[in-house]
């Protein structure tokens, strides 16, 4: 899948910034003040990356919500059973009742 350009830009800024941070925090020659600034930068870059990622997830949550509704609609529209089977059974029951009634009336007439 092609990467979102904004995501790519954010990641580039993040990676470049973090590389510089790591050079400072990974060196025994860095002063405490330098390390303090580097760690604040690390925090800020991480917050930027996470905020952007959370926004992506939020967007995808909305997309998924819509897809769920659509797929449910498709599933509901699928006719697993034929539309006429129920009608046939119903008609059969009606005719059965008619037969019973007919036999009863016939019996009454003959008696």
């Amino acid at each position: 899948m092609p990467q979102d350009p904004k995501k790519k830009a954010v990641k580039t800024v993040y990676d470049e910034g973090m590389n510089e941070v790591m050079k400072i925090v990974g060196s025994i020659k860095s002063s405490p003040d330098q390390k303090k600034v580097a760690l604040q930068t690390s925090r800020d870059l991480t917050a930027m990356l996470l905020a952007h990622t959370l926004a992506n997830i939020e967007g995808r949550t909305a997309l998924l919500s819509g897809l769920i509704v659509e797929l449910n609609q498709v599933t509901d529209s699928i006719k697993v059973k034929p539309p006429y089977a129920g009608a046939l059974t119903k008609f059969g029951t009606i005719i059965g009742k008619a037969t019973t009634l007919f036999n009863k009336e016939k019996g009454n007439l003959l008696n």
């Binding site: 390390k35 925090r43 991480t46 996470l50 997309l63 659509e70 599933t75 006719k79 034929p82 037969t99």
Partner: protein
Amino acid sequence: MMLPDVIIRSGQLKGTLMRKSIIAVTIMFALAACAKIPNAELSQYRAAFDKADTVKDEVLINFDAAISEATSFVEDSSEPVENRSPFSSSLNASTNGPDALKVRQAAWRVIERYNATLADLAEGKSDEEVKSAVGGFGDSIGKFVQAATGTAIPGFGAIIEIAQTIAGRVEEARRTKEFKRAVREGGPLVQKILDALYEDANDQFTIKQGLARDTFNNQSAALTTSISDMYLLLGSHQAPVAAAPPVVVASPAVDLDGEAFLSTINERLNMATLPLAKQLVEYPFTLAWAVGNGEPFTLATKNTVDLRLVEVEQRAAAMVAVVQEVGGIGEMLRAYQTLLTKTKDALVKLDQALDAPINIENEVDEIIATVFKIKQGIEKYRMAREKTNTGAPPVAASPSAGS
């Protein structure tokens, strides 16, 4: 021509017409049902989905935790330093709009339901239900006629059997068409859902790695501070000397072979930080004693050096553990994405199989079997009619159920 001949010949003509009509209708329905439901591809798709489904819970739990941690981090970072609290501001750590976890869980369930419906269509239970409904309906008609006229319709049972066979094939054709529609309409939606879940895994890893990297940086800063302290300590002290008895080392200097001690310290330091070599600018480290004047190396200083070394070893191990944890999460998510991809591929194959060329041999066998059943029904009907015309007792109207 004698009347009986006319009657017989008209009966034969009607029988021939009836036979040819039924055969023509049967072939038509058989052809309509030729596009079969690709059961093999459906099974493969469901198996692939079920495999991804078994690991999704662990992934989603991790996903939810990642969102919570990321949200807390972002919120905390935006607060001024003096307002930062180690405790959450509320019970609801995640502020990511509609619950992201619940939506993903619902997405899995909706696909499960869709798959189950496809399986119901493919199973073909409705074919037997339709045959049973036709048989029951026919049975009711036959009983009514018998009640009304006093006699059964000759050969009616055979007609019902023919109707059931045709109805079964009609239902199969309907199911197949419905299945095709279901895959063509639902398939793309499933693909989009799987794509979204795939991208979720990428973002999940970004969050975990981002948080880990910040932790790693903090630990790295502390680690290099400890190593720097060791450099300062040793670099400001004279190398101790181990005195050979009866000589005694003057207090407060510690009786110790300085070079051997330094060698051990350097070895332990570099062993502990070897896994982090790429991240530590000055690796490998070379601690050294003071050149020229230096403080005597006392027991207290030695204890401090030992303490710093233990700190370095523990911090290095913790940093390695962070890297390994992220690696483990990465492996889990990559495996999950692989299962999602396999599910997508299986769904593509299912869709392609809907238009697969017909296996003519199988289709011809089925058509022949269907035609044979109908011919059997026609023969039964004919025999029943003949018995009626010759005065033999009529055949009862009840068809055999579910044949």
